[in-house]
């Protein structure tokens, strides 16, 4: 009897420990976005905006270059001072979309998305957020960060596989130096030494 009780207690502790460990992990997994700073919804909205700033055509655009990944990563790094701008601004863009076209930004056809962005650029966007935050300033910020994420160094999370450099005809991975190919184009220089 005593032995059975002891086993039961041990078993109880084991179960409790497992539950304690698993509990938060399970709930956490349910609530977490795959992104670092952005929510799933914010990332979708931002992806649509970036896709308009550098659209995909015969060459990859912001989407293929992983620009959202760049911005999301830098919002927890060097660009963290812009966290609030993104949190409020992305909500504001949905407010503008609802006011202008009756639907959220990601649900709009592409030409209507353009209308919304142009309203932001003109600083004439309706929406509660834009009463205390400049729509144009936020849009300019996103344009600039999108250019960084599309044309910048891949190490920062954008320009995946150097897509923009390939598009411009730059070798990727970059050729580190070209001197070795050009030594024949001029006579071999004379070597001098310092006095």
């Amino acid at each position: 009897m005593r032995k059975a009780t002891k086993l039961t207690r041990r078993r109880f502790i084991q179960i409790a420990a497992t539950a304690a460990a698993a509990g938060p992990a399970i709930s956490c997994r349910q609530a977490t976005s795959p992104w670092r700073f952005l929510t799933v919804k914010e990332a979708q909205t931002l992806g649509s905006i970036c896709g308009q700033i550098v659209p995909s055509d015969q060459d990859p655009g912001a989407k293929e270059a992983g620009v959202v990944n760049y911005i999301d990563r830098q919002l927890l790094g060097y660009l963290k001072r812009h966290q609030k701008a993104y949190r409020e601004g992305l909500a504001g863009i949905d407010q503008t979309s609802l006011a202008l076209a009756g639907r959220e930004f990601t649900e709009l056809p592409l030409d209507q998305q353009l209308d919304v962005l142009k309203a932001l650029e003109r600083n004439e966007a309706p929406g509660r957020v834009w009463k205390k935050r400049s729509a144009k300033a936020f849009f300019d910020l996103v344009v600039n960060h999108t250019m960084q994420g599309f044309y910048g160094d891949p190490r920062h999370g954008g320009n995946r596989d150097g897509v923009s450099w390939r598009m411009l005809g730059l070798p990727y991975p970059p050729i580190r130096g070209r001197q070795q190919y050009d030594l024949t184009s001029s006579p071999a220089p004379k070597v001098k030494s310092a006095p």
Binding site: Q52, I53, V54, P55, D57, D59, G61, Q74, G77, Y78, L79, L114, V143, N144, T146, M147, Q148, F150, Y151, G152, D153, R155, H156, S164, W165, M167, L168, G169, L170, P171, P174, I175, R176, G177, R178, Q179, Q180, D182, S185, S186, P189, K190, V191, K192, S193, A194, P195
Partner: protein, 551 residues
């Protein structure tokens, strides 16, 4: 804590400080060289086009850092803002061993003879403080030569009839021209101009124990991955240390210059790498901290004898802040001009430095360094949208078909363009920070426009199908070319240091850097700053032997 007494303490291991430390150490003085930044190596190059000294989208690579450094900037409308080093309005220059020379584009110009005689050449300018230097080109010439051979300069200015007379050719030949260079060469000849290979402190052949440039496209703003760029960090500073007489202390931030009751400098108080306050006593103090930080240090060194800071009896410290009013033009071509062969900035003309009708001064023109894709995306091409498919099309169409020609236009110094110390804002160490205010002289902008139009003409002659101007704004300039804030002069009432860079009323305190420039030439100033380092050291060493500084 008070440290062991030395002969000289040099504040700032940049273009001038490195040279001074080496010259004094070689002459047998014991030297402590203080540097607020770190000592980076070629392995720190990283070729990061979003984080370097020129594009600071993700911060500056070689400091100062955004966490501990701030300044106050007063804009053209009088609005104050607190700015960090990665903000353009901070007017940053790198904080590391070598200073700006660690990551610069390395153009290594001598000023022209007239650049030392601006007042005599152009007369007094209303609203400006245009003045002659107390020294002439000829006095600096031997030291220019010394800098060219010890630091290492490549180029060929034999086709430049406007240069000051030189006794010795440059030690290294120029790089073979890239496509941009060839196109601009033909166009300049067509216009009857005098194009030549710009002088650059970059190994084009093995020199001074280091290899040659490999012609990559990451140059200005970056460390050189193959250590071919020549700064003080890989030339004179290692030589100073090799004498055994010089100790380099990095991550040391100067707080104030110490003085005694007799009005002589006694040393420097600074915060070391672990933020401990140290006192370094010395026979003489050399301030080489840049044209924004040197005046800050002088102004922050207040005492009963010097209530307004050192050298500031007549309120000239921090005045006449100038950089260059960069002007030029961009051109688009209907053929490829890009051949992926760096570094750029190899062809130059000095036809428009002086003698331009109706304007004061001028500037050298040269092709721009290689423009990386993000940098190019930030240029506003005419009739091209900033974003969307139109922008992407323009990037595809023009990236390899654009040229940029620009030049450092000499500025007319303005008394109220200045560095002060802010009465309220302090940095991480509690030291009052730089406060920048003032505007460019309107006549400087006229010169800039003149030069921009000449650049446009050059591009049009080269076959550009579309061109547009690049013009400076009204706001003050400083940044990497900052100069002028501790003016050199014979009259103590209208200058801060004498012709030997010695503070007028403190015989053992020197300011040696761009601060002492009376005017800043129409050229990148690094070689002139280095030459001044040699020149001032020469005086110190000669006087030292007469024991003048041993109080």
């Amino acid at each position: 804590m008070t440290l062991k007494h030395v002969n000289a303490v040099v504040i700032g291991a940049g273009a001038a400080g490195g040279v001074v430390a080496k010259e004094l150490a070689v002459a047998g003085l014991s030297v402590v060289l203080l540097e607020r930044g770190k000592w980076y190596s070629p392995f720190d190059c990283r070729k990061d086009d979003l984080r370097n000294q020129r594009v600071t989208a993700l911060g500056s690579a070689f400091g100062p850092d955004d966490e501990r450094y701030v300044r106050v900037f007063v804009d053209a409308e009088g609005q104050e803002q607190i700015v960090t080093p990665s903000d353009g309005n901070y007017h940053n220059n790198a904080a590391c061993v070598g200073g700006g020379t660690f990551s610069y584009g390395a153009l290594a110009w001598r000023f022209m003879e007239k650049d030392f005689r601006m007042r005599s050449t152009y007369g007094a300018v209303e609203g400006g403080t245009l003045e002659d230097w107390p020294i002439a080109y000829q006095e600096l010439e031997p030291f220019y030569e010394k800098a060219e051979w010890e630091i290492g300069v490549a180029g060929d200015d034999s086709n430049n009839p406007f240069k000051g007379p030189r006794k010795k050719a440059l030690p290294m030949p120029p790089l073979p021209p890239n496509r941009e260079h060839e196109i601009l060469q033909q166009a300049a000849e067509l216009l009857g101009l005098h194009p030549f290979h710009a002088p650059t402190a970059r190994n084009t052949v093995p020199y001074n124990g280091r290899g040659a440039c490999m012609r990559c496209r990451w140059c200005v703003g970056f460390a050189c991955e193959v250590d071919a760029k020549c700064g003080t960090h890989n030339t004179v500073i290692p030589k100073a240390l090799a004498t055994g007489n010089c100790e380099l202390r990095t991550e040391c931030v100067a707080k104030e210059i110490l003085t005694n009751a007799q009005g002589r400098a006694t040393g420097v108080a600074y915060f070391d790498a672990r933020d401990r306050l140290q006192e370094q006593p010395a026979d003489l103090v050399v301030v080489s901290a840049s044209a924004t930080e040197s005046p800050r240090l002088l102004l922050n060194s207040q005492s009963q004898l010097f209530p307004n800071g050192l050298g500031n009896r007549y309120d000239w410290v921090g005045r006449n802040l100038q950089g260059h009013a960069y002007a030029g033009a961009y051109g688009l071509f209907d053929f490829d001009v890009y051949d992926d062969l760096g570094p750029g900035a190899t062809i130059a003309i000095c036809d428009y430095n002086h003698g331009n009708s109706g304007v004061i001064g001028g500037g050298a023109l040269a092709n721009e360094f290689v423009r990386l894709p993000y940098f190019f995306s930030q240029l506003r091409l005419p009739d091209v949208p900033r974003w969307g498919v139109g922008h992407k099309d323009a990037m595809r169409k023009w990236f390899k078909r654009h040229l940029a020609v620009h030049g450092p236009v000499q500025e007319i110094s303005v008394f109220d363009s200045r560095v002060q110390v802010d009465p309220r804002v302090k940095d991480y160490w509690g030291i009052p920070v730089v406060r920048l205010s003032g505007l460019n002289h309107p006549k400087t902008l006229e010169t800039a426009r003149y030069i921009a139009l000449k650049a446009e003409e050059w591009l049009q002659a080269a076959g550009a199908v579309k061109t547009w101007l690049k013009m400076p704004g009204r706001g003050l300039s400083g940044s990497q070319h900052q100069a002028g804030t501790c003016r050199m002069g014979n009259d103590p009432k209208t200058s801060v240091v004498n012709k030997f860079c010695q503070v007028h009323d403190i015989g053992n305190l020197f300011v040696v850097d761009g601060s002492v420039h009376v005017t800043n030439g129409g050229f990148n100033p690094a070689l002139t700053i280095m030459a001044l380092g040699y020149y001032a050291s020469d005086y110190v060493v000669k006087e030292w032997k007469g024991t003048k500084f041993k109080g």
